[in-house]
Symmetry: D2
Subunit: 242 residues, 4 copies
Amino acid sequence: MKKILMMTIMVISTFAGYAQLPDPGFEVDARTAIVITDPQNDFLSPDGVTWGVVGESVTANNTVENLEKLFKVAKEKGMMVFVSPHYYYKHDHNWKIEGALEALMHKINMFDRSHTLKTDGFEGSGADWLDRYKKYIDEDNVVVTNPHKVYGPESNDLALQLRKHGFDNVILAGMSSNLCTESHMRDLVESGFRVAVVKDATAGAILPGLNAYEASVVNFKMIASHVYDTDEIVTKIKAHKK
Amino acid sequence: MKKILMMTIMVISTFAGYAQLPDPGFEVDARTAIVITDPQNDFLSPDGVTWGVVGESVTANNTVENLEKLFKVAKEKGMMVFVSPHYYYKHDHNWKIEGALEALMHKINMFDRSHTLKTDGFEGSGADWLDRYKKYIDEDNVVVTNPHKVYGPESNDLALQLRKHGFDNVILAGMSSNLCTESHMRDLVESGFRVAVVKDATAGAILPGLNAYEASVVNFKMIASHVYDTDEIVTKIKAHKK
Amino acid sequence: MKKILMMTIMVISTFAGYAQLPDPGFEVDARTAIVITDPQNDFLSPDGVTWGVVGESVTANNTVENLEKLFKVAKEKGMMVFVSPHYYYKHDHNWKIEGALEALMHKINMFDRSHTLKTDGFEGSGADWLDRYKKYIDEDNVVVTNPHKVYGPESNDLALQLRKHGFDNVILAGMSSNLCTESHMRDLVESGFRVAVVKDATAGAILPGLNAYEASVVNFKMIASHVYDTDEIVTKIKAHKK
Amino acid sequence: MKKILMMTIMVISTFAGYAQLPDPGFEVDARTAIVITDPQNDFLSPDGVTWGVVGESVTANNTVENLEKLFKVAKEKGMMVFVSPHYYYKHDHNWKIEGALEALMHKINMFDRSHTLKTDGFEGSGADWLDRYKKYIDEDNVVVTNPHKVYGPESNDLALQLRKHGFDNVILAGMSSNLCTESHMRDLVESGFRVAVVKDATAGAILPGLNAYEASVVNFKMIASHVYDTDEIVTKIKAHKK
């Protein structure tokens, strides 16, 4: 009887703990950098191949403007930004093993580039940066990593570049929320980084019966060290004394 | 004008493609194994520390019975099962970097073990296997990997064991759906495995305003090669000629 | 007394086993591909920045010709080749953490490229392919992966590309033997690949009191599944019926 | 003519640079920890299964005593030590893919344990710690990670534990020099750690025509940030003010 009572109390208190998720918190310091996934036309331009499904969420979140705010404050404060892009080459279309969205991305020629060592047709293509971000990405405070090949940074040099440059803490944003952004969050956490996600500087697909953006927010809250709005984190970055 | 029309058509056809996600499919063959995450008391027993939040989903999905069906059919067919458990030791409680649920798991002593080389107090603890699975896990067709330490298999030997035993295709199930199961799906996909998820042989936390199970199903559908119900995949496994 | 005797016998038999290293063997089959590291001017051309230290070993091994034999037989047989190149960008020169040879490579501008998305000055530079390999690398049976960033494939997509294309077995060659080639061997083995090394289709630095090529051969013999000469493996590849 | 001259000068200066390898250096600070691979009987005890081939090098280097000096100074200074052990279970003996030394290790039952969750027969076995290290490993400043499964830490939680505890810099020692120790050095470097190796707190196999210890020293010098003797690094650790 006593045992059941104790167990009940424990379950309730556990539940209470859960209902109010712990907030480990996140500070902007000298070992903090920004990571942006896929700031590319195919996700963020009305001409991009996925606009039909992500446009609603991109518009609702003000994602394009919010990502620009992050690029801008980083430039002003000399804070480093690591951009992890998504490119597919001809050989990637021969993969024998694919998941659902991988098959779709290849079918609609998303992020396609002509050649690993040529840039013919790249300018202005779906794989290119959104035009308004180009002036920021070209600055010295920005590192463009190798492209990731599925969704996460397991097969590129993002984690290495962050460590080689001396960073432990990551402010994460970019596209799309439940795919590349979330896979970056998860794998960076597995590599021991402290990760905060900016939940309105990302967006996800919305389809009948499947809200990918909402799914990602659930996981940001449960897995990241903190979830920010763009304006909050921009204020925090501005307040940080170098 | 012509350009806008073409673009509209493209967007619509893209949308149509998206609305009907491609199904790359998944076959059970000689290079297919089952992977089970965290079949442990703290998730699956009414006495476990998370039952207050996952019990509803575990009960609704019949998760405990469905996982047993997978263990059972694997034994009958001599199919290999890889169990990836979750254990925490004293030193894990000293981590300086934690996300929200990591902080919670340590706070409620989830999956705690006393020592890496001792088993005092393990039997029947929250970290132990659910009692009804023990007879299966003790069989020769089951490999117990090193414990994973956050949510994914990045820091254990699961991918290596699968490759060393000759497997490319993974039928994935276990607990909890949006955390360890999904992180296993994502990282196995990044390691080049073909992954199918059994969506009612898993379950997730349900909290006010946060349905972790539903979030995981969105991601299973978008990322895996196929999503099965337990009875479907059990039938497929039974039909497979070795 | 008996125990000491038994132990002695065991030690001797162990020693005997060791003295004659096991040869697990390696077959060329439908799941076998070739991997070439760094077939670039800075290692293989007399104009390259490291010729002063690797030229002797490259010349002695006939490395340039032997690598061409591998490219040639692969083209003839339609066998896939994965080239893992080495490039450094401006941002890589800002790394705060470097080992000895990393520091050297950056100091001598080895493998330097001007920009991740531009190819100005690349043609004929130290980072470019050795001229005689270009016609092979441009063929459809060759996949050029993302560049690796230190020595191994941990931070590029080589393992992923091999798996996505359906390969388990790797014939490894390229430059330089104890650095990128050996780190590729080691990490591919950790990823569960079966690896054979072609010991005269690679070469290493020779310095006073430090023979890097010899060091690598010791490790090839102990770690790989088999060590081949170029002519042996070319014969084996030719004999393989697709 | 001028070009040839310049090239000659460049090659000579490159050679000179190479001949005198850069020494990036290594400081002991608050973010520095010690990592020890395989301090186990099968390598370090005269009863261990490999003593016949590593005993000569272990004796020449004073490896057993030097490793103890590292454990001792760490305890005195409250410095953290991460021990990465090597265990094999029954299921590891079923691997279909093995390199030469992997085949040997399984053949001679090196590092064998009976069960992942049982410790029958472990005490005093080849897989157990060398007896004189037990009192150190049991202290709170020591973290025992999951076992690695081939040679490197790719499939265990060593890198994660180091990061979660706040470490960037690693002093590396243990057994055996060209296998697990070197694979740990290489993969830790690929994960962005600054690594120094203690070259007489390790040892390697010596066989007719194959000196594994010497091979490893070549690679330590070329890949690590600095190579120490035990007494040097012990002095440096003692001098470090916490």
